[in-house]
Point group: C2
Chain length 432, copies 2
């Protein structure tokens, strides 16, 4: 066993600096846990001359990544520089040099996970990426360690703080989407360009990584059925409330004999469901396992402290593996082949809001269209619309087949009495 494990740091921004600080502040405790010293030897930076004020032993700075990935004394590379294509090439090269990798880069892992896993398996190296999802929630460590002897069936997550903040404020204050988004940008809860958050891409990346780990299957970002919250109407939030639900942007990863299904979409959750009470910028992941039943992990989704903590936790795991001679094992690399579930095998509940003409027999006409596709309803609310000739309808179905539902909705839109289909959302977390 080694006395010292040397680490190379790709990137030295806030998170990278946080990693050095934690390693320094917890030097003794890390030695106790791993039986050796963990030392950052080199760090990749843009500007070699910037004043950095790092604690502890001096770290060699370089602006050439090869100085780090080719250094035979470095065992583990911590990647906190971000970026996708260039970073992928740098890490693939490092893996060929038998370096173990810890990465906090969710874009990279969600988009190029398979290439990285393949390289790591071929080279028998470790590849850890807990920090890439929900930094403050020790969810991945829990799935991989705590629930590793269980069979995970379903994961439901509120994994994007920005959208959860927006939906919480819309629900609490009754303000409309654009107004709340602007406020969130002013408060720093939303980026100037909020696209990746608001349209669900960030959540989709995190759900991809959660499903890779939870189901041990190399799922891809493109497997995620994706719908964001842009233009979400306060009307739906109010009606959902009346029906006993909260609307949240929920990522759902399910696994059964037919394969897996992955989605990120605004969904109605019963108010009694623990996820429906996760508010503001908080994140949470609900996990259903055969042995453990239902478990939920709740915490802040991001931030320097949580992310750096998660990286160091991954780093300690890698160092332990090096000392135990168990690197490159199957627990962070997917064990199963990717198998997706077809629409024909997928069943969910749906919420629909629509405007219809105020004429006798309308409701019968509507329900007949659904009945023909074997779709029945759990709740229906009918009420006058703003216009006198129209009525507004909110309907919640029982569990329906995804294909049948789509074809019923097509038939519905053909009906002359249907003025507009305003919203269609998934309903989750209750009985079907």
């Amino acid at each position: 066993m080694k006395d010292t494990i040397q680490v190379g740091l790709l990137g030295l921004g806030t998170v990278g600096t946080g990693v050095i600080e934690i390693l320094h502040n917890n030097k003794e405790s890390i030695k106790h846990k791993t039986g050796c010293e963990v030392k950052v030897k080199k760090a990749l930076v843009h500007d070699l001359h910037k004043d950095r004020n790092l604690p502890g032993d001096s770290v060699e700075l370089t602006d050439k990544y090869e100085d780090i990935t080719d250094d035979p004394e470095i065992d583990v590379i911590v990647e906190v520089m971000g970026g996708v294509e260039h970073t992928l090439n740098v890490l693939l090269g490092a893996i060929e040099n038998k370096k173990h990798i810890v990465s906090a880069n969710k874009d990279l892992v969600a988009e190029h996970g398979e290439a990285l896993f393949d390289a790591a398996v071929r080279n028998q190296t470790d590849l850890y990426y807990e920090a890439s999802v929900a930094g403050g929630i020790p969810i991945i460590r829990s799935i991989v360690d705590g629930l590793s002897s269980d069979n995970i069936r379903k994961m439901m997550g509120i994994v994007n703080g920005t959208t959860n903040y927006i939906l919480t404020k819309m629900s609490q204050d009754g303000s409309d989407f654009d107004e709340v988004l602007k406020e969130a940008q002013e408060l720093g809860f939303a980026e100037a360009d909020p696209t990746a958050d608001v349209d669900g891409l960030d959540a989709a990346r995190k759900m991809t990584i959660l499903s890779i780990l939870g189901f041990s299957m190399p799922t891809r970002l493109e497997d995620v059925k994706l719908k964001g919250i842009r233009g979400m109407s306060t009307a739906d939030i109010d009606y959902a409330d009346k029906l006993g639900y909260a609307i949240k942007l929920i990522g759902i990863a399910e696994h059964d004999e037919e394969g897996i299904s992955l989605s990120v979409e605004p969904s109605l959750l019963p108010k009694s469901h623990p996820l429906s009470n996760v508010n503001d910028e908080y994140n949470a992941v609900y996990v259903y396992g055969d042995a453990v039943g239902e478990t939920m992990f709740y915490g802040p989704g991001a931030g320097k402290g949580p992310t750096a903590t998660a990286i160091v936790s991954d780093l300690i795991a890698v160092v332990k593996n090096i000392q135990l001679g168990t690197t490159g094992n199957n627990y962070v690399h997917p064990q199963h082949d990717r198998k997706l579930k077809s629409k024909a095998d997928t069943y969910t509940k749906k919420y629909i809001r629509l405007h219809v003409l105020d004429q006798p027999g309308i409701l019968m006409e509507l329900t007949r269209v659904f009945a023909e596709k074997d779709i029945s309803f759990d709740q229906i609310i009918q009420q006058p619309a703003d216009s006198h000739e129209e009525r507004e309808l909110m309907m919640v179905t029982h569990s329906v087949n995804e294909e049948a539902f789509e074809s019923a909705m097509e038939a519905l839109e053909q009906l002359p009495s249907v003025r507009s289909v305003d919203s269609v959302f998934r309903v989750e977390g209750g009985d079907n």
Copy 2:
């Protein structure tokens, strides 16, 4: 490093059998993680002749614990036999023989933790007890591993399934305490003798263990301020609901410069607080750390699957430590001396329900008693009582000093206009 680590099992009931099953079913994955084989060599049983049908390699059965604790080939002892005084002696003997211990025995750890920790430290052995608290929630592993580089300030837990089930049903159905307790006993959610659950002792044991681990301080069961839910009134549950709160049996462990405070008592939680929506027999622990902020872990509190899973997870940690040469380190043995906070340093919000005479000036008289002790109110509800001469009052204070509150309550009970003080509960989880 060893090829095989041999384990001795003290007890072979449902949980012990579950441990053997998990070790057998996950043989390969455990080898991948630890670099060696983990094998149960011997098990202690009452009846040597009972048919057991265990999977995997044959396990030697014995009815003499010394056969296990004195066996030089056995490295780790898993204790799942329960009991306190006798079990303590058996484990202390085993520790003197340099055996590492994994125990699921919360009564033992809560009552005799210090003796066990001292012996383990002296003998440089490991002592793991995650499974003793909230089996299904990987909370202890998360605190010890995931949050080990953080400074934990406060833990709030719903850690007893029976009482949470009773309070949930009382709140949802409006049934009274005795009725729901009887129903819970019939459904198997409460023991025939429900004392340890209903009076809060079970929750107090778990909070003691959580605070030992979270604060790394050898706290004792006797340090817990304890009040159960026996005789809880539906009136309080209803009033709390009107004021925007749920009543839960909450264990609270707090740590600041003055020391720690530990309590288990029925408390009012704002409905917006994630813990207030933990219902039925579920458990949850809310943790506040300096770096991570707020995190919550939610899951089933008990059961064969969760408990055996937690034990195997502890066992894997011990085996890794043996291989790394890092057993007997400080992370499961308390690092700090026990230091309790005095009442004079403790501040909480309170809910009071009382009956007063229906006379002018009563409210002024009451609030004067409190104002003299610097206690002011956040919410007051006054309404007619069943008797025409009386009124019922519900009051929620701002944060108050514990000593000042006690002396105000004494003064209050002296007032001729106060007919009865019906309930006093802690209020938690909101702003002070």
